[in-house]
Symmetry: C2
Subunit: 463 residues, 2 copies
């Protein structure tokens, strides 16, 4: 792609696509604004047009047309990305895939399914209800499975089932030139050549468009029990997590909030929980396994110094504590209403988690910002919501500085700058530090597969 | 690489490397023969020389030198590959990595380790003994972890822990030009850019040389119980497997042998087991979970028609039934001593397994060959040992025909031509049928990373 403005070329693409897409090709400012910002704190940048695709063949037509005219294509699912993945800094076509929302096959005996990329995880789990199966990746956002694969998303149950990396078995992908390829398949394992599936999962729409996904499913567990455990300090909470992981307990979720986050939750959810570091825990499995492991977990927590363990007695009470957990981000933002928040996302080896949290909190203490913490602590991944006023240059600089300091800290501990949100525009600056010479290898692969650089250009890295 | 013979150029490489490697550069026929065949049924083809590397830097020197002279490099671990991965059909340098066998770090709290590529899984597990941790991939062969990653190997415990695909967290890789890159890392998950780790895992030495691996480890389970279950037919055995998988039982291994394989085992291991389809099962977890799930499994097996369930009462007795399982390949070969065997390796969605086995057995019944069956049935993966006399053209043709028919059958069922042995030379002919246009994408990636085509040329696919 040349560096010339795309506006004129985008007009050619719009003219070429109009006969096929008709009313499904949108150029209104409202439609473009809706497709140009997502859930990111970054300022919106709008595409030239939005195309609502309804089939793999239509996606192929859009990509071939955009390649021919060197116009960017930005795949769009539910618009929930956090790091600017759906922004259009170079204009182009926002390719809205939310209408590709058919569940194509559910193979209950094999515990897999094939869906179009616009199916949301909520829609899939509704559809699976009668089968006794479910798809486990459980994140805060309302997201499409295609978008979740594109950012290699994870969530509260990753400690048990893995992330999208582990759960996507195969893909239908449209390459930038419009060619349609299938990767992977329905066999549980294969040694037949290069693992193209994993190359596309996490590539954030920079290599092609995933239009269909084959996913692993799991049987609903017979039993589950939740716990809410309060600790005097973060160290005792994380010590409990490490011990529980090493004991191989049937943990389904294990989530941490710090004292400030608990204050935020009490205000937002009108609860009266101890405002000290807290673990949400869920054990699932057979009745016997859950009862057995629950007793062990409680003992580990008490040994580590837990000051209070609440064991919800009913499904409704358990559901309440998880609702509180899932509203933590809103609770955090409500500490300063109307203010922006950068959600940090580092992930470190679990043994380094206490140090990582302690060190960044001492950095935060030197600033004027509030930064409540919530995390998927079983994976070593946590989020700080850095609350700042974008109209205040000093606060903005502080928030950016904390984010950069946290990434540097995580990398020095063998961790990563992003556990689950992806790179987009927001984490590009850290790629060289994290990957070293491997970043150039990523660039070589990008140039080979997308020589015209039409696919979500400027995301993950610059060429 | 040009099509000119490599012999002259190989001589230049040998001369260039001699000062550095001295006695670790071997050109004797014995050394070259030892490095030119592996465990494959394919006729040996020898490299021009063998280099014993001792460090990542030495590997970089060899690769840069071979790139400069357009001479092939064939990475070599323990020589246990089955499909001709270590053959040298175009000559070149066999790069023996077995001396790179240091365990670099064991991080017990984080349950990971970093090893050099020449460490074997047996060596690693010996080393881990005092930690209460283990590395789970359990295959028949004595293999290096680098070789296992290169072929994306798996084995009896993949049903529980996954294959090398799921267990390699990061790599040090030497690219063909000698550049050293790190991929992945020690964080349990990451969304930071392209998944290069998975690109190299399973690439069979065609993209570079993996010299260090970071691997996931697991806590040894508190309890385990094995079972040996005899069934009247294959259908009742595989029905039991599907039901057990759907119930989410704490299966650690679940392996199937057919009646002919049981006959072979009785002869070879001097046992008196029923000569009917048989499942080996191992449940692991907490005492309670194992006892609970054992009762359920036995009920499922009886419901499906199991004629006999043997539950070894001691660890020694359990170890005996697994020794019998691990010697199944030798037992199969002993049905016709001195004869070659092609080990087939298809993997299909589990629901198709009974049909797949039934249909291929009816093909085999029309030939004169013996073909005992053993399989990692929890993954939908099984092996037939096609026993044939390579001096008999008719038998050879029959064996090849059965292998091809089985692959076609597996592909028609949504499966793969190789579940765990890899492609090498032996499965190249099936790549186009399995991957369609995606095969060309693999070729584009290969050309980008290895433009001189020095890395294990002619394996997986031709350019």
């Amino acid at each position: 792609m040349s560096d010339a403005p795309t506006a004129g070329r985008a007009g050619e693409v719009i003219a070429a696509l109009a006969p096929t897409f008709g009313a499904r090709l949108l150029t209104s400012r409202a439609a473009r604004e809706q497709h140009g910002s997502g859930e990111s704190w970054l300022p919106a940048t709008l595409p030239d047009a939005v195309v609502l695709a309804s089939s793999t063949q239509e996606v192929a037509l859009v990509l071939a047309t955009c390649t021919a005219h060197s116009v960017p294509v930005i795949p769009f699912g539910a618009g929930s990305s956090i790091e600017g993945q759906i922004h259009a800094p170079r204009g182009g076509i926002s390719l809205d895939l939310s209408g590709m929302n058919r569940i194509l096959a559910v193979e209950a005996e094999d515990m897999d399914c094939t869906v179009q990329c616009g199916v949301t995880r909520q829609q899939l789990n509704e559809d699976l209800r009668a089968t006794g199966l479910f798809f486990p990746v459980d994140l805060g956002a309302h997201a499409t499975l295609g978008g979740m694969a594109a950012t290699r998303a994870s969530g509260t149950t990753t400690v048990r089932y893995g992330s999208m990396r582990e759960l996507v078995m195969g893909l239908t992908v449209v390459l930038p030139d419009g060619q349609i390829v299938r990767t992977g398949g329905r066999a549980r394992k294969s040694s037949a050549g290069y693992d193209l599936t994993h190359l596309f999962v996490g590539s954030e729409g920079t290599l092609g468009v995933m239009t269909e996904l084959t996913l692993r499913l799991f049987g609903l567990p017979a039993a589950q029990q939740s716990l809410l455990c309060s600790f005097p300090d973060l160290d005792s909470a994380t010590r409990t997590v490490v011990a529980a992981l090493q004991s191989g307990l049937c943990l389904n979720r294990i989530e941490l909030a710090d004292a400030l986050q608990m204050t935020a939750i009490n205000r937002y959810s009108k609860t009266d929980l101890p405002e000290t570091p807290t673990l949400w825990v869920e054990l699932t499995g057979s009745d016997g396994a859950v009862a057995h492991d629950l007793a062990i977990f409680e003992e580990l927590a008490r040994d580590a110094g837990a000051s209070r363990i609440e064991r919800p007695a009913t499904a409704e009470a358990a559901s309440h504590i998880w609702r509180i957990r899932h509203s933590a981000l809103f609770a955090a933002r409500a500490l300063r209403p109307g203010i922006k928040g950068i959600s940090t996302d580092v992930c470190v080896p679990i043994s380094r988690l206490p140090d990582c949290i302690r060190e960044i909190q001492s950095v935060i203490a030197e600033t004027s910002l509030l930064a409540p913490l919530i995390g998927h602590v079983g994976d070593g991944n946590f989020h700080l919501v850095l609350l700042f006023d974008p109209a205040d240059p000093d606060e903005t600089a502080q928030a950016k500085r904390i984010n950069a300091a946290l990434v540097a800290l995580a990398l020095s501990m063998g961790g990563t700058c992003t556990g689950e949100h992806g790179v987009g525009l927001g984490k590009k600056d850290y790629m060289a530090a994290e990957h070293g010479p491997a970043l150039d290898l990523m660039r070589r692969i990008k140039r080979t597969i997308d020589p015209a650089n039409i696919m979500n250009p400027g995301k993950i890295f610059d060429l």
